[in-house]
Symmetry: C2
Subunit: 424 residues, 2 copies
Amino acid sequence: MNEWKNYPMERLGALREECRRKYEGFKASGLKLDMSRGKPSPDVLDLSNGLLEAPASYICEDGTDARNYGTPTGIPECRRLFGELLGIDPDQIIVGNNASLQIMHDIVGRLYFFGTLGGKPWKDLEKVKFICPSPGYDRHFGVSGEYGAEMVTVPMTEDGPDMDAVEALAAEDEAVKGIWCVPLYSNPQGIVYSAETVERMAGMKTKAKDFRVFWDNAYGVHHIYEENCLADIMEAARRHGNEDRIYYFFSTSKITFPGGGIGMLAASPANIAEQQAHIDVQTIGYEKIAQLRAVNFLKSPENIKAHMWKVADILRPKFDIVIDTLERELGGTGLATWQRPKGGYFVSVDTLDGCAKAVVAKAAEAGTVLTDAGATFPYGKDPRDSNIRIAPTFPSEGELQQAMDLFCLCVKMASIDKFMDGRR
Amino acid sequence: MNEWKNYPMERLGALREECRRKYEGFKASGLKLDMSRGKPSPDVLDLSNGLLEAPASYICEDGTDARNYGTPTGIPECRRLFGELLGIDPDQIIVGNNASLQIMHDIVGRLYFFGTLGGKPWKDLEKVKFICPSPGYDRHFGVSGEYGAEMVTVPMTEDGPDMDAVEALAAEDEAVKGIWCVPLYSNPQGIVYSAETVERMAGMKTKAKDFRVFWDNAYGVHHIYEENCLADIMEAARRHGNEDRIYYFFSTSKITFPGGGIGMLAASPANIAEQQAHIDVQTIGYEKIAQLRAVNFLKSPENIKAHMWKVADILRPKFDIVIDTLERELGGTGLATWQRPKGGYFVSVDTLDGCAKAVVAKAAEAGTVLTDAGATFPYGKDPRDSNIRIAPTFPSEGELQQAMDLFCLCVKMASIDKFMDGRR
């Protein structure tokens, strides 16, 4: 087999020389690209420019003047639209401002300061642990880190987090209070949680009575190749008598405009009442005109899905470039592994252990900024220094092809350095 | 003198009968009015309908695409506009989403959980006290109440809070950590803090090194009769070496749309850096398109001032109705005191001790909901049960005249009850 780790030194040396020449070429080309975040490209944003137009009316269906104060749970037509789209009772939905991350952050803050449903405030506990399936979303880890939680890494499988590990942690340790989940098209691997994973998440025994699942369905309608379904965790949790366990988040940030989306919380009636009481102290109300614009533009679940297939038609060729280039340049070399994401916004690549930081540094030196190596793990520390999140959504196809050629080159260079240093 | 308290029983009895007849008339008229909050009327909101239109461009002056992620401190043109309007360095400004109350709330939460500039988190202190000049804004008191602060009432004078009392509390007690201020056109009295009050607030000695002034300039451009100026507390605090003491808040909620304004924090460079670091964990960014819309619509400080005179032209007759009716119906009776507000959104009336709750209840029974008696004091408890906040901005002039006639009638009825019960 022709895995590079078996190559003789001379061949590696020759390859290193060849790579270095190509690399110097890239540096000379003056490539300047930021692929560090999952940002949509202008042509995807253009699909939502209708959102900029004045709403047909500023009067909501319940007669509320969206320009004025009031309706702190969000306007009814927006709660209903999200409810129909996600199969959730609108009464269990609070529609907020533009960032669902803020809703998550604020809930974590309240769990620490006030506790939930009669439970002890987490700030008064000796220790609080959060389960962080990794690789995962750096901003989730940032929130639990902000409040001082000990973050416990759990590996991802093709069906979602390793549920044996999750169940063991939740069942045995009362300090384990929560878990971060991106259940559909996980960030960064694009994994779809299986029905069994969802069922186990909803039904598992937890030592902590106030264990909470932060269910961030950020990519709930972000199909790329075909439509994948996510099992209904709210229904499952109800069935298991654990309905208060789930905080369900959704947002239109990656449906319309990241800067101008609508964030949403769905939860049990008891959780919604508790959060609303805190929200009523925090704000007089959310931006209802933005909610009206969203409803006017998105219209119906069917229309949202049609819109997202237009988005997919722009993203699909980009994902293909990433996967095809990885296969062409690194296939069979044993230098990296990856999986074709089923949807979402990212491609996750694992280099040889100890090479990720070097790859990201080399790419940056040649003008392409990638997400920091390690960012996909708690504390920004990837124990194997091997995972890299590729965000192909923003660059043009031409830029992306260049960036991927450079990326694969950097993987080869870092790997050769590892082999040759290793043998000295 | 003909103060009612000196009237003989017979005359009071006759007046009571007369009032009761008129009151029954009001009940029969089926008046239905909510004057509980400071909401602008539709014709005021209409002045800002230009805000609904699509922005000329979604590209900010620094090249940022407002539709996408980025620029977490707010777009530069919006920070500059607020800076020019308020005389604050734009680098010391963070422009947020639609509610400055949320910025205040979140800062209080961070002071409790994280502390500020190396100080101990307030949650770890035995006691935290907030100075609450009263009558004041119920939502301010709601925030400090949410986090468990002990709220200490300080009386208001014609020049702002009683600074002798404020200075004594701040200087002597390390648990005294902050004060709520609405310095221009205070809520509810419409008082303008004098230059001396501002100077003393900025310069006073505080036992707590992390004492904070929550300077909510919510009505900073809300003149009604003539333009009143507010001394520059940021400059004064700098001069006294206390620049970290001030959190300065402003919002366009009552310039354009309450539901769709832009909130702002201004503070020292150290405070801004600290808050931004926390904000960067809480959200990926604020609604930049709304910020662009605000800049497009508001344009310049001069234009904002011109806009606010149009608002004043609508509000002025309403304030006149309130004051004129109070003077006509209650002048010289000794049953209530009030002052003509210099600007802002409210008129504050003090009934005889122990009558406010009764007045509000009687008005509600006849179809006019007023702000709860006591709401203008910490814990919703007015020790004298005498202060009532009148919010004349929402009703039409006709409705307002009816409501004020009813209000004065209720004051008379509650006062007569007090006199006659008192003499039995």
